[in-house]
Symmetry: C2
DNA sequence: AGTAGTTGCGTAAACGCTTACGCAGCAGGA
DNA sequence: TCCTGCTGCGTAAGCGTTTACGCAACTACT
């Protein structure tokens, strides 16, 4: 009967217990290897569970065990095109690690930042999640960090900077922007570039200072910084139009994100500025699709698997070991060179050398 | 005390009931508006719930209510770069609609197809999900469709073809490939294109026949079809290299997916074939990033919001109304014209112009 | 042999909610 | 007045686990 399928009774722990003449408590202990149990009994029970094809009811486990084995991934800022890239790569890295802990991932891709926070707090209050991983983009929201801490939810932030002191139950995995940008700028410098242009999004982004320092340390000059209205190709496109009006025009452009770089490349192309012949371009994040740009984009790579693995390991410390605090860790970035960089033109168009 | 936060007791339905001198049953009835309850009592209770800031424990609700308010999104085939595109756009459309039903979405981005199916069946057996949306790519897996049906899980397939008959508790939202491809080919024909080349992935893809028919109905010719090893830019790149060796070289290329088109464009560029001057190119799916290709790609658009909304509405029929079956619906596609198409060269010589 | 400590397991009370059932109270018709 | 039927609500039995507690049985000492 079709509709009886819908309400088909699943095997419960009790039925397995009865089949073996033991109590449900013993079966539960066998299942988790917790508590005092005879190893022989345990293997006997595990074999029976396997044989009968038992699968625990996750809600019952969560209710009685006071944990849900679910974590949420949340990020600051709105999701537009962004969702398709950085966040998804990261989600995948996180999920990969979570799988080994038998945790599930809840990921909200819809609605604006405000709305998503509301949903998240519902989940927390409803005990639907045991922990949260927040992607700070680009800055940590300290107020919200404390709010989450006050709710008692273990939280790991993936961020560029580490606020001090951290509230309880809060960890930070820091993405080391400095490594990648330094490498990129040194590479460009070695090719002969001295004048840099930066397309960024947020004036408070810690990356800005990192980039400036790196440029100064190679005796280069940051000729212009233009800000995009948002972290999208279209933001990058418009910002580049701004940049094109400034003089002198730099020989190397740094796009804060690959998403911006898509728009930068488009704008340059539209104005007949050839990449990398007339200008070099470097992006950040190394999204999978940037190597398919024309020309393929040089970009600063984040190891998403490692990032996810670190964040998850830290979160598990907070959740499972009930660690009250945990030391921040740092994940490096590195340059991936592709065809969008080349030595600068010996003869920059606008300023003719004598 | 920090660690007491972790185990902070949340407000329960009982406490609210006591505060008002009613029973928990009445509060529960007020909360859901189900069962026999005095409207006056109900508003009084709702006010109190609001005032005390009550949030239900989702696990308790799921356990007692025998439903989880979670659905899973699953897809056939492996996730590589694919995850960043079609699937995510769709996930977003689905999530948008699910939100209005207060359902959550579980999305597994990691592991191969086999592994993910295993996980999904665990979730089903563990009562973690009430329904599944499966993206068939490109063909419905009829055996698995029946397997899911036999497990009693309401399932909606997003597919290009509708198998008949459908097993119980199964719905299909069909993506009408014909509409978009027909429009694209007619558009190209109107520009003067007669010779077409197709870059596809799966020989069993229903799209192939649709495309052939459309080409024949405009008296065009499908000069060549090449198959990529997988649905990625790199697959498209290599397939295009194959295509470049064939003669006559078509004046218009059809990429089965935008992801392939990224690789196609790269290959053409590498061989000095200019888009759209030397050849026109149309993709399918209208991924957000394809409009930032150089030149921006003409593509066949899927309305992901509508697709998600239809799939969710259908799934809710199956879950909430316990409908044993539901009629398939169809979602159209349409061409979005950008710079990658132009009239064919008057002199289709592959040789270099003097 | 008596005591103390350990081990393995069963009993039963949670966990926080939903809902079948039944019982008053009341209205309306005979 | 009695019976019937409906309404609004409380009682209590689940839902399927986990786990604190306690009790035998056993070991290892004195």
């Amino acid at each position: 009967m079709a509709s009886s399928q819908r309400t088909a009774k699943r095997l419960t722990i009790r039925e397995v217990a009865q089949a073996l003449g033991v109590s449900t408590a013993t079966v539960s202990r066998a299942l988790h290897g917790r508590g005092r149990i005879n190893p022989a009994t345990r293997t006997r029970i595990l074999a029976q569970l396997e044989r009968m094809g038992y699968t625990p009811n996750l809600h019952a486990q969560s209710l009685a065990g006071k944990r849900s084995s679910v974590v949420a991934l949340e990020y600051l800022g709105n999701v537009d095109i962004l969702a398709d890239s950085f966040l998804i790569e990261l989600a995948r890295g996180i999920q990969h690690s979570l799988a080994s802990y038998h945790y599930r991932l809840l990921l909200n891709l819809t609605g604006d930042c405000e709305y998503r926070r509301g949903v998240l707090h519902q989940w927390i209050a409803g005990r639907a999640i045991d922990g949260v991983i927040v992607v700070a983009n680009p800055c940590v929201d300290t107020a919200w960090m404390h709010a989450l801490s006050a709710e008692g939810v273990p939280t790991v932030w993936i961020a560029y900077d580490v606020p001090h002191p951290l509230p309880p139950h809060t960890g930070v995995v820091q993405l080391n922007l400095s490594a990648g940008w330094r490498e990129a700028i040194e590479h460009l410098n070695a090719l002969g570039h001295r004048q840099f242009g930066l397309i960024a999004v947020d004036p408070n982004d810690p990356a800005l200072e990192v980039i400036q320092q790196a440029i100064h340390s190679v005796n280069g000059q940051l000729a212009h910084t233009v800000f995009a209205c948002d972290d999208t190709p279209s933001g990058g496109y418009r910002a580049t139009l701004d940049l094109l009006e400034r003089k002198p025009f730099p020989s190397a452009l740094l796009a804060r994100t690959d998403l911006l770089a898509f728009g930068v490349a488009q704008a340059l192309h539209r104005y007949g500025i050839r990449l990398p012949h007339d200008v070099s371009l470097v992006g950040h994040d190394d999204l999978p699709l940037t190597q398919w740009m024309i020309p393929p984009l040089s970009s600063i790579r984040i190891d998403y698997l490692e990032l996810g693995q670190r964040a998850v390991a830290m979160l598990m410390q907070l959740i499972e070991q009930r660690a009250p605090s945990v030391a921040p860790v740092c994940v490096a970035t590195r340059l991936v060179v592709r065809d969008s960089v080349a030595p600068p033109r010996p003869n920059p168009k606008k300023e003719v050398d004598p």
